[in-house]
């Protein structure tokens, strides 16, 4: 019984992190319409910014996290302006954008590794004193509760902003049809920039969460990104709530699989789920 509770808890925590990844990815994908692999590296940018500020410089926790998110956001925005915008302007195909994004991912990863070495690092200062809670025999740490809360807050915020505010409507308009949106007076370039900024910030937060939960590595981005993408596709791509549902489904399947077989198969299981969904339900759970 205890083990089942623990697996469920682990799935909930992993699901919270995947939700963040899926939320940021979904936002960017549904507006820019290509697989932004560079988004993966921004999770590492968030993680390493906090590592530098909080652990090396010794700044307080909350400002470090906020600054880490902003760093990821600025970099995401900068890449979009410098690389993706000129490509979009000359109507490059998705494949070209995908390959360019692959280059972005590689460059950022290598940059981080040069600055901070490629060693595995943890973000918490006092690992031993981590407060833990016991629920029905399963254990959850304070950090994990905070991650879960952050995931839920961002999901609701994003959902509400996209649905009810003027900016949200503009974003959806650009996502539907960039040209028509421009004709009715929406500054599509600015919206696009904003989407990359906010999406990358959320990705940065996901990286920071992973850093506090387990640890960070320069190459962490690709694996995390792919989890976000898989979650978004399972849930129904472009759908805010779908991404979150997909994230929890993916986390549950992964953790059940890891329990039945062994932890090393997690990534393979995740991709198997993806391929099954692409084959039999490419629109995802909540897809239109």
């Amino acid at each position: 019984m205890d083990i089942v509770v623990q697996i469920l808890l682990n799935a909930v925590i992993a699901g919270a992190i995947y939700s963040l990844l899926a939320l940021g990815f979904n936002l960017i994908y549904s507006t820019a319409r290509f697989f932004d692999l560079g988004y993966g590296a921004l999770t590492a940018v968030g993680g390493y910014s906090v590592f530098f500020l909080y652990k090396i410089l010794g700044l307080p926790l909350i400002p470090s996290i906020i600054f880490g998110m902003i760093m990821a956001g600025i970099l995401g925005w900068g890449v979009s302006e410098l690389v993706y915008r000129p490509l979009r302007a000359r109507k490059a195909s998705n494949t070209v954008l995908l390959v360019a994004a692959l280059g972005v991912l590689t460059v950022i990863q290598a940059g981080i590794a040069i600055l901070f070495t490629s060693q595995f690092q943890t973000l918490s200062r006092y690992v031993a004193e981590q407060q833990t809670y016991t629920i029905l025999g399963g254990v959850i740490t304070q950090t994990q509760v905070l991650i879960l809360a952050a995931g839920l807050i961002i999901m609701v915020l994003l959902g509400v902003v996209l649905k009810y505010t003027r900016v949200g409507k503009a974003v959806r308009a650009v996502a539907d049809d960039e040209e028509v949106a421009t004709i009715v007076g929406i500054n599509a370039q600015r919206i696009m920039g904003g989407v990359f900024f906010v999406g990358s910030m959320i990705g940065g937060l996901a990286g920071i969460s992973v850093g506090f939960d387990t640890g960070i590595q320069p190459t962490m981005g690709l694996a995390l990104l792919l989890k976000g993408v898989i979650a978004a596709i399972i849930g129904g791509i472009g759908n805010v709530w779908g991404g979150v549902i997909g994230a929890f489904v993916l986390a549950l399947v992964e953790n059940l699989g890891a329990w039945q077989f062994s932890g090393e198969w997690k990534d393979a299981i995740a991709f198997l789920v993806l391929i099954l969904f692409l084959l039999f339900r490419p629109k995802g759970i909540l897809g239109k």
Partner: protein
């Protein structure tokens, strides 16, 4: 001199991989990021046959090709149902799955420990144990694969592929079964990659899963894109350039860890700059 021979052998092996991948991406226009898996299947297939059953290299090579062809047939059947971005994503997934199998099916592959003591090729009592003789063998295989790939591209089959790449709907209207053409190309390409795998295994005399990860597929993709899609000469040039360039960086005098990261950074920058300024690569005939 030994060092130059070593580089030349690597150029031959990666030239074969570049040629094989060019068939799928450059000629048929499918963004395939699974090639390292087939390269690995060839390497593992040959290595296991050589070490377990003491089979001659050339027969083991054939075994590796058969394993890779069979694997690619299964994977290709699934992938042929996807399009565009999802094709790329699905192929990412299969690379991770195959890699996980290499890493976790410990009874057969010895997992992360790898397979040591793979014998060098021997023919009629002559062993290719000297690197110079091995280079000649590798060059012969490169020439062979080059011949096969130019034969395919010049044949009527190759012309159908080019048409398919430019406009799949139009060619299917003319009654060509496009999925059949894609699948056959995919299997041929994987079989050719298996040759490189077997050569690599018996050259290094040791293999482990780390040589066949997703990053390797991305590296192979950069070779083909740099050289130019749809050009056999380009694929070999891409391999030459991307193998030799980082070796040149080695002499600039960075510490080894930084040098490895600098190399990654150069690969990434090459991809970004190519996409921005020359998406058809150095000598490509096809713009994505």
């Amino acid at each position: 001199m030994e060092y130059l021979i070593h580089i030349a052998i690597l150029v031959c092996i990666y030239g074969i991989l570049g040629l094989s991948l060019n068939l799928v991406i450059g000629e048929a226009g499918l963004l395939n990021v699974t090639q390292a898996a087939f390269y690995g299947m060839g390497a593992y297939g040959a290595a296991l046959l050589i070490t377990n059953y003491d089979i001659n290299f050339f027969l083991a090579l054939l075994g590796g090709i058969i394993i890779s062809a069979f694997g690619s047939l299964l994977i290709g059947l699934v992938l042929s149902r996807f399009r565009g971005d999802f094709y790329a994503l699905g192929s990412f997934g299969f690379n991770v799955i195959v890699w996980s199998i290499m890493l976790n099916w410990q009874d057969v592959t010895h997992g992360p420990l790898g397979i040591p003591g793979i014998a060098r090729p021997a023919l009629f009592g002559f062993t290719f144990s000297e690197n110079l003789t091995f280079l000649i063998l590798a060059a012969v295989f490169l020439a062979l694969v080059y011949g096969i790939s130019t034969f395919i591209t010049k044949s009527s089959f190759g012309r159908v592929l080019k048409a398919l790449r430019e406009d799949e709907e139009a060619i299917s209207v003319f009654g060509y079964a496009t999925s059949y053409y894609k699948l056959v190309t995919f299997v041929i390409s994987a079989s050719l990659a298996a040759i490189a795998g077997a050569l690599f295994a018996s050259y290094i005399t040791f293999i482990d899963p780390s040589s066949f990860s997703l990053n390797e597929s991305i590296f192979l993709l950069s070779i083909v894109i740099l050289g130019g899609l749809g050009s056999s000469r380009g694929a070999v040039m891409g391999a030459l350039f991307l193998i030799v360039l980082p070796e040149a960086l080695r002499f600039v005098g960075f510490p080894p860890d930084v040098a490895a990261q600098m190399r990654q950074m150069v690969y990434g920058l090459i991809l970004i700059l190519l996409m921005l300024y020359r998406p058809q690569g150095l000598m490509g005939t096809f713009r994505m």
